[in-house]
Amino acid sequence: MNNDNQCTNTEKLYSTIDEWDEKTYHRVWEKWLWGTNGNALPVEQCWDMNEMHVYGILCCIRESVVLSSNAVTYTTSEILPLEEYPELNIVHLHTNKAIQDYSLREILDQLECLQLNWGKIIGALLDNDQVELASHLLKACMSRLGSIARHAFQTEGRVLDDPQHITPLPDIQILQQAQQHHSSAPLLLTYGVVSRKCLRQSICIFFALWRVVAIVEKTHYIADEPQDQMDRVIRALKAHHIESSIDFFNVFQQMIYLAPGMRLVYRTNFAGMYNDVSQVIYFHYPKFCRQPQLSLTEIPQSNVHLLPLVMQLIPDIPVFYDDDTFIPGLSHKCLKSQIPKNNGAHAVEEPNNNYANTGTGQDDIDQIDFQWAWIVSCGEIFLIRYHKKIVDDEEAVLELGNISRQPCDIFLSENRSLVNLVAFFLRYTKRKIGDEMLDASEVIIHRNSLALTAHGHVQLLDG
């Protein structure tokens, strides 16, 4: 059996879960996080789950196996010490209780708490350069969920303490006794398992939180750009950009308002009913009010308000969100074919390359080979530079099986300023924006880059 088959045969993976080596786990993990479509419709025959949920459950169970073999338990406050992170005291719901001992309700509460505060947690950990603590915390929670998922508990017990997330099981012993004695007494449902819906929701949240961690871990931080470069960006912003970008701004502010995984959970809970992000917003926050766009002078101070204008200035750079089906540079190439044709109004899946080298006047191969995109994750805006071609990295293929994607670099400004990030992009690509593009030589270059035929022109007839 080759690597690829090993990774796709989930039943075999499950039956040998105690014997996985690091490589197998890495493959399954990679497949779950970047090789499955989280937005796919759940399949009724598979317990109302999709591929992402199936692999997510495998990962949770594996985590529970690993943690139980290590016999180590943690409380949240041991992972995120209060002395070091006093600002994160809100995430310690059960300070003295090990995560491995959480009941179903407690683990769900903890997960929701992490989801709502994930930006804050990651931000605090980033400042201390300890993002791996977020991984420990998530793995501990996954392990507990995996442990609950592979066990049936007494419905009257203290683990399954949330009636809405319990599926009762018929008790086998009582069933056998009833058969022996031909009893017609009603069956007692004393054991139960966690419900499918609960598993599905939790896996969606884990998926989204892990994606944020993965993006942050790959990020390169860029220092402040020279002031004149930043001024270029601010100078290029005009009032008409506000008007033309207002539709995108309205959608974008809703996306930013949502916590990681909220859209994903909604899309799987209401499968096939999702059309617009406003559905999710008003489902979670019925009192949500759209904020008006700021004035032109205030906009550069706010990344959320600035990005729609930047998209007017550099329209060939698309925006992707962390729960999108396909994110270039991160997702596996096999997912590219699963992108719906009209997948949101603003996520341009296939960027137009006509502008790729506009205004640079140079033939730098590096520039031509790369494309750029914005990734919005957990309220932060990242810039990703990815290779146009999908490269089969031999080492990765050997190690991870049939995985190929575009090599990429993710950038974030150290001071979290989008102006700085745009200035970096302009300096790196030597591109010009706004009025800078209007001199005669630029017009000629721009025209040449357009796909006109050698004979294409408008002809006026005389006579």
Binding site: Q45, E51, D101, Q154, L461
Partner: protein, 250 residues
């Protein structure tokens, strides 16, 4: 304490169901792919189909000219300017005639095309501006009918100033097409669909040769015009032709 009150449950049915589903989907996909893939022999034969019929871009252009001349003989003798318009339209649409000749056919034939027709270039757009009563609407109808007769798998869209004109234009096209059949003595093409906005006919160049003409009303205004002008723009896209017909305003 938990373990006392708990029992292991197997999630194997979930993974088994998932694997079985994947297997079924893979088989379905493979069988679908097999259905869609033409055999090497089919591909080979289809490339010769047109050659068998002896048609190529040059001959189709000749057919188009013949159709226009047939209309001349059937009582719709074109004026000097109408002939000029048609020649320019033909120039703009030249690449459409080579569409079924395979990739690169137009590029290969380009020099010869210029030479044979004494053209300097083949622009894809043409803008015609003349005073009223020059017969522009009629000339567009005639040309559309000739194109429909000569050009396989083409789609032509005409945008007129109002619904009355767009309907009239479409009726004219159908009428001229009938005259062409009559004059050239060829069996009429089968009409697949016809309504007040579009006509689809099945051409004579094999499977997939559906020829479409759309005639749509539109709302167009040109301001600060003191003389009535009629403007046509022929814009040949990759596989369709667009006429903006009769933009006139005072």
């Amino acid at each position: 304490m938990d373990e006392i009150a708990s029992r292991s449950v197997s999630l194997r049915p979930l993974f088994l169901a998932w694997d079985q589903l994947q297997e079924i989907e893979t088989k379905q996909r493979e069988s679908q792919e097999k259905k869609n893939i033409a055999t090497a022999l089919q591909r080979h034969m289809s490339s010769f189909k047109i050659v068998e019929q002896g048609m190529n871009g040059f001959k189709r252009m000749q057919q188009c000219r013949k159709a226009l001349e047939a209309l001349d003989r059937r009582g719709w003798d074109r004026s000097f300017h109408q002939r000029l318009f048609h020649e320019e339209y033909l120039k703009s649409c030249a690449r459409i005639f080579f569409k079924r000749d395979g990739p690169g056919a137009f590029a290969n034939a380009h020099n010869r095309l210029l030479e044979v027709n004494s053209w300097e270039s083949t622009p894809q757009e043409i803008l015609v501006s003349t005073p009223r009563r020059f017969g522009k609407t009629i000339s567009v109808s005639m040309f559309a009918a000739a194109m429909m007769f000569a050009c396989p798998s083409m789609e032509l869209s005409i945008y007129s100033t109002c619904k009355r004109i767009s309907q009239k234009l479409l009726r004219n096209i159908v009428k001229f097409l009938d005259l062409i059949y009559l004059e050239l003595g060829v069996p009429p093409f089968k009409i697949a669909r016809m309504n007040s906005e579009e006509v689809h006919v099945l051409g004579n160049e094999g499977h997939g040769d559906l020829r479409i003409i759309n005639s749509y009303p539109s709302k167009i205004g040109l301001y600060k015009y003191y003389i009535t002008f009629m403007i046509y723009v022929v814009n040949v896209l990759s596989n369709s032709i667009v006429f903006l017909s009769g933009l006139s305003h005072i």
